[in-house]
Symmetry: C2
DNA sequence: CCTCCAAGGATAGTTCAGCTATCCATCAGC
DNA sequence: GCTGATGGATAGCTGAACTATCCTTGGAGG
């Protein structure tokens, strides 16, 4: 990573400035290196924008919040920020309908989440999109997913709760929340591959064509 | 969506040109609209790049492959394309170590996947990153995730197998694979929120601060 | 004490993706 | 024949994430 990039992160507020020893020299410690590694991880593996990373890390660093607030807020900042369509938008009706169904599901599952939770908006949008395309976006599917995810989330939370030092817990929250996402998605796809191979053993008996380049025909 | 954008998608090969009725007029049908909706969904909800969307849709349209190949290849094209570090790269050692562990896990689970499967590279990178940051990237965690995902993947595959018309099945594969990802991730975060609220009921008793704007202090 | 140059800071430039706007030629319809 | 919407090509725009340059400063070697 180049010096210019580090300067850029400093400018953008992702990285705290070192304590200036003199006017022309600042001191950077081990925590700066860790932070830099975390930033790179968020941007590359986590696929976050610099904006998002800044906001998340700002909360993580903000002593104005207590432990659980900081963990919770960090969570809130992590995902994409979806806003519902305008009142006037014709798609709003479908949105409201889906949102109501999802709320009902959450009530049924007895999940204690806020109506304003960003992931709920993201969930609503995804389901709305699926249905708009004419695909199965039924609540039964969602319920199955939800039931599969809950124990995993509980497990993860237990891991996070074991960090005694708040700063480390925050950073761990950010890291786990973000970096386990690609893991989850990759495993889903590997599972697809296995299911596919299992159902029709002959398919893809040879290594599949290399992706990345446009395919031969077409 | 503006006409200019549609032209752009045509140029980029995401959308098949209509059959030219005359030199100054082409005919677009219902399938073009569906394709456009799918493209928008892949780009916005799915978070894909135009490049990726093009490649995936190219396979979906390519009659040179059979049903299962096309489903499989589409899967392969969908995810991010990760390449392992160079042989010379010092991080390569860790990469190989993690990769070997993951292979072993997959063998233990009896999942039939290729060593070259892109999701496997993505998985490896995520685990490598976690460990590089000093976090828990143990195989036991991964196994738990894998066991949770497999039945879900099987269920999804069953849904896809019910599409009789190949073209529809392909498009459905792309749609489901991509659009269920944000659903999965959103549910994981909602589950986190529930677990957190459950463990310390007082935390976040008031609606959390609005994300999107820089917070007050900090 | 003077010079030198590495580090800090500011500013402008670069690259790429994803659009967006303009221009021009064409030809169905009046 | 004239018009004007449409297709096609080309160039421009915007934002994100860097990257390169320049200028300033002040401690260290001489």
């Amino acid at each position: 990573m180049s010096v210019a990039t580090v300067k850029y992160y400093l400018r953008e507020g992702l990285l705290a400035p070192g304590t200036p020893v003199t006017a022309r020299q600042s001191e950077y410690g081990e925590e700066h290196l860790r932070r830099l590694r975390l930033i790179r991880a968020l941007l590359t593996v986590g696929g976050m924008t610099v904006q998002q990373a800044r906001d998340v890390l700002a909360v993580a660093d903000d002593p104005a919040f207590g432990r659980h607030e900081r963990l919770g807020i960090a969570q809130y900042m992590l995902g994409p920020r979806i806003t519902p369509p305008e009142e006037s938008d014709p798609r709003r009706e479908l949105w409201d309908e889906v949102f109501a169904e999802l709320r009902e599901l959450l009530t049924e599952l007895d999940w204690r989440v806020y109506d304003e939770a960003p992931p709920l908006a993201a969930l609503t949008r995804a389901v709305v999109t699926l249905r708009s395309l004419g695909y199965e976006g039924g609540i039964d599917h969602i319920r199955r997913y939800a039931l599969a995810m809950h124990p995993i989330a509980a497990e993860e939370y237990a891991v996070l709760d074991r960090y005694p030092v708040l700063e480390e817990a925050i950073e761990a929250t950010v890291a786990y929340t973000t970096l386990y996402e690609p893991i989850l998605l990759a495993l889903r796809r590997l599972a697809h591959e296995d299911v596919s191979a299992r159902l029709h053993g002959t398919a893809r008996s040879q290594p599949p064509p290399t992706p990345g380049e446009p395919l031969s025909s077409s």
